[in-house]
Structures are given as structure tokens and as C-alpha cells.
């Protein structure tokens, strides 16, 4: 691996709240892997799904303000852990290639949005710029024998023209990273199926049905835990697992990790920095297996 690379960093609102363990572990892992994060000064919300369901120009303007901040800080690439932020920043950039659309966006902004700022997910940067081979060399606590279900969520790789990363139907970047950590990655056919997104609050049955299916398959494939890269997917599967169990008459106790948490533990980072105590479903049984790889492998 070459020397530290510097990126503009956009944490996203949930990183300040419900997904603070993702944010914390992302920072810790990036530091350990030589990825330097420069947080965008005074960044604002990208508008998430609500903004684009109301208006595409408004949504792009909310992203535009943040891209402007990156430009004024001299940063040519912005990376974010959150797929929803990612999709908004990338879609805004993509649509603003159309001059007519761009002029509508600029009318909502104090200063015109920049054109030349690239946007990537933290996962993409870890996978492409560091890579599984370099990660494998740094592993000090291998996840030997841990059967994990990799779940990417719907937005990280789709639609392919906009996201430009990995396969839109069967992404494998997170699989490769987890394998480099020593884990067994189970075949997981619902990698990009939607978890029910933000309907947990307004239409709960949608989430209990769709996220329930995701847990059913992880369980059927004998995974001991699921691994996600999305704050909303994680919240639906973890925090709402009790609601899912009552709605579907199941009794799952499946820990739902962020891939950065497991990457961090395998790299030997202190567990405190990785925010395992913030998970709703108790991850202790699985974490114990990591500490005792010989037992887990038997």
C-alpha cells in the first residue's frame, strides 16, 4: 500500500445519531488503513430520500451545497459511509451534467455547485485503493470460521450508470473484504434486496415483511451474523429485529454488524472504538468466537 490518501469526508446525519457506531468505526478503520479523512466543514443534510421524493432540483441543491464546501476546501473527492448520502451526492452530480438541470439547481444556491468533485463510498475506497490483499496482510485477529451474510442494501451499487461501482445484481467487494479477514461468507441471494427503507415509521408492516425475509435467508444459510454497509438497513434489521420477530413469529437473535466494525476488530483495533455497545442485538456471542478462533473453527 502506498502512502496515506486524503479524501473529503461526508459523515451524514445518521452518523451523528442512530449510526454513530458506523461513523466511529469508519474513522478508526480508515486511519488504520492509511486513508486520511478531512471532514467537510459545516456540512448539511443531503435531504436523503425525502428530498428527492419531493423535488429533484431541491434534492440536488442540498447536495450541491456540500459539493461546494468540498471544492472550497480544495478536495477533489468526497467519500461517505452512507449509501443514501452517496446516492444523493452522485445523482446530483450526474443530473447536473445536463446544463438546463444545473441552472435550476444553481438558482437555489448562494453560489453555483461545482462540477468536478468526485463522489465515492468509503467501501469503494477501501476496496479499490487499499484492496483485500493489503488488508489480509494487516489482519491480527482473523475472523476464522465466522459464517457471515453480506448484505449491501439496494442503493450502494444501483443504478449502475450512476453508482459506477461493483456489480448491481451481485456485488462482491464486501464479500472479498470479509474473506480477507478470514471469515466464511455464506451464499446470500438477497444482497441488494430492499429492507423496507424508511417505511419503518410510516408503514411498519413493509419493513417487518422485507427485513424479515432478509433475516430468514441469513438464518437458513446458517450465518451467525449479517454484515451491512447502510445505516438504515442496519437499523431495520437490528433495532427492529424484535418488531420483525413479533410480526413474523420468529425468534432471531442475529447480530447485525457494520463491515467497518468487523474490519476494525480483525485489524486489532480496540473494541471500544468500534461501538459494539451501540448494537441492539447482543453481539457478545459472536465477538467471543472471534477472540477464540480455535473454538469457532471446530
Amino acid at each position: 500500500m502506498s502512502e496515506a490518501r486524503t479524501y473529503g469526508y461526508y459523515p451524514g446525519c445518521s452518523g451523528m445519531g442512530t449510526s454513530m457506531e458506523y461513523e466511529r468505526s469508519t474513522r478508526a478503520v480508515c486511519e488504520a488503513l492509511g486513508i486520511k479523512l478531512v471532514e467537510l466543514e459545516d456540512w448539511s443534510c443531503c435531504g436523503s430520500t425525502p428530498a428527492h421524493t419531493v423535488d429533484h432540483v431541491l434534492s440536488a441543491a442540498l447536495s450541491g451545497r456540500n459539493l461546494s464546501i468540498a471544492e472550497s476546501m480544495g478536495l477533489d473527492t468526497v467519500i461517505t459511509p452512507c449509501p443514501s448520502c452517496l446516492t444523493n451526492l452522485k445523482t446530483a452530480t450526474h443530473r447536473m451534467e445536463n446544463p438546463e438541470f444545473r441552472s435550476k439547481v444553481d438558482k437555489l444556491l448562494d453560489k453555483p455547485a461545482p462540477g468536478g468533485v468526485a463522489v465515492k463510498s468509503v467501501l469503494q475506497v477501501i476496496f479499490e485503493d487499499v484492496g483485500p490483499d493489503a488488508i489480509r496482510e494487516k489482519v491480527v485477529r482473523p475472523l476464522d470460521g465466522l459464517a457471515l451474510a453480506p448484505y449491501y442494501g439496494c442503493l450502494m451499487n444501483r443504478p449502475p450508470e450512476v453508482m459506477q461501482f461493483d456489480d448491481p445484481e451481485n456485488p462482491t467487494s464486501m464479500d472479498e473484504i470479509l474473506k480477507a479477514l478470514g471469515a466464511d461468507v455464506v451464499p446470500y441471494g438477497l444482497k441488494v434486496e430492499c429492507c423496507g427503507a424508511s417505511h419503518g415509521i410510516a408503514q411498519k408492516d413493509v419493513v417487518t415483511t422485507l427485513s424479515g425475509r432478509l433475516l430468514d435467508l441469513a438464518y437458513a444459510e446458517k450465518a451467525v451474523a449479517m454484515v451491512t454497509a447502510c445505516p438504515l438497513c442496519q437499523m431495520n434489521l437490528d433495532l427492529r429485529q424484535g418488531q420483525i420477530n413479533s410480526a413474523n413469529k420468529t425468534n432471531y437473535k442475529m447480530p447485525i454488524f457494520y463491515y467497518t466494525q468487523l474490519l476494525g476488530i480483525a485489524l486489532g483495533l480496540p473494541e471500544k472504538e468500534l461501538g459494539f455497545d451501540k448494537l441492539a442485538v447482543n453481539p457478545a456471542p459472536v465477538l467471543k468466537a472471534i477472540q477464540e478462533p480455535s473454538h469457532a473453527a471446530s
Binding site: H56, L108, I201
Partner: protein
Amino acid sequence: MEVINITKSYDPDFVAEVEAESEQNVRLCYQCGNCTAGCPYTFAYDIPVSQIMRLVQAGQKEKVLSCRSIWICATCESCTTRCPNDIDVARLMDVLRHMARRYNYNAVPTVRTFVDSFLNSVEKHGRVFEMGLMAAYMTKTGRFWTDTDLSPKVLPKGKLSFKPHRIQGRDEVAKIFERYKEQQR
């Protein structure tokens, strides 16, 4: 099967409006059904997405804008990714939601209230304030029991702040919303 007499109810302006706003040619849809086959939300829809495509082609404004599906679609991009004719179906569903708002259709009020509460929070603080968003949603919908079962799980974790994370530039963000609203008038 329901029969629609399109010689009487075809609304060409509606088709033109959808096409212009979505930058999509809806006539390209040949009803292969791939979008519906991959849509995770069909079970919760009143009209499957491929039928919405057909109804848009047939200029059925009232039927399309008054349906529940356009509010429940979560923009998971499955339809867009799998369309053999490269129609951005998810973008079209977004545009139908925009139009439903504009023409005062509101088939799933809870979803609309959630979306509005979210954006109000961003407009006010510059970033979304999760606790405030929930409080606003519950107050506006009268659904005071929403997710109260989650409180004992989430509150001890110290993840939810009782105060918004206000940013310096919240006026700049508020101005984006202001200019947007002015344009809508």
C-alpha cells in the same frame, strides 16, 4: 379485468408532463413485467409498477396520481437497474409523487407526513434532528404509539440526541428551501 376506454379518458398533457419532468420516454415500455417481477413492494402496492407504466402511457392521470403505490415505492432502483429498455422507472415514480403533491393527491398520508417532517427538520437545523423528527411525526399524525417499543432499546445506547446538531450555515440551507418554495408559487 378492468377495461378503460382511452378514447374518452386519455390525457395527453399528463403524458407530456411526466415525460418532460422525468426525461424518460414512457412509450418505450413494452410491458415485459421485469420491473414488477423485481419490485420488493408489489405486496404492499394497489397497482404494480408495470401497470403504472401502462396507465401512464394511456394517459390515466386520475388513476395514477390517486394510487397508493407511488407513495410506498422506496426508490430501491431495482426497476431502473433491470429495465431492458433503459427506462429510469424509479425516477418516473419519483416524478409521479412530485405530481401527486402538486395536484393534491395524498393516498398514503403517513408517508407524506414523515417526508414533510424530515424536510422541515433539515430546513430548520441544517441537518436532520432524529428525535425532533419523530416528535413532529407523532404530533402531526396523532400516532403517539409509533415505535415507543423501541425507546428502551435505543435510549440507553446514547445514540439519540435530545438536541439538534445545528450547523453554522443553517441559514444557507433555509434559503435553499425558501427559494424553492418561492418558485413553487
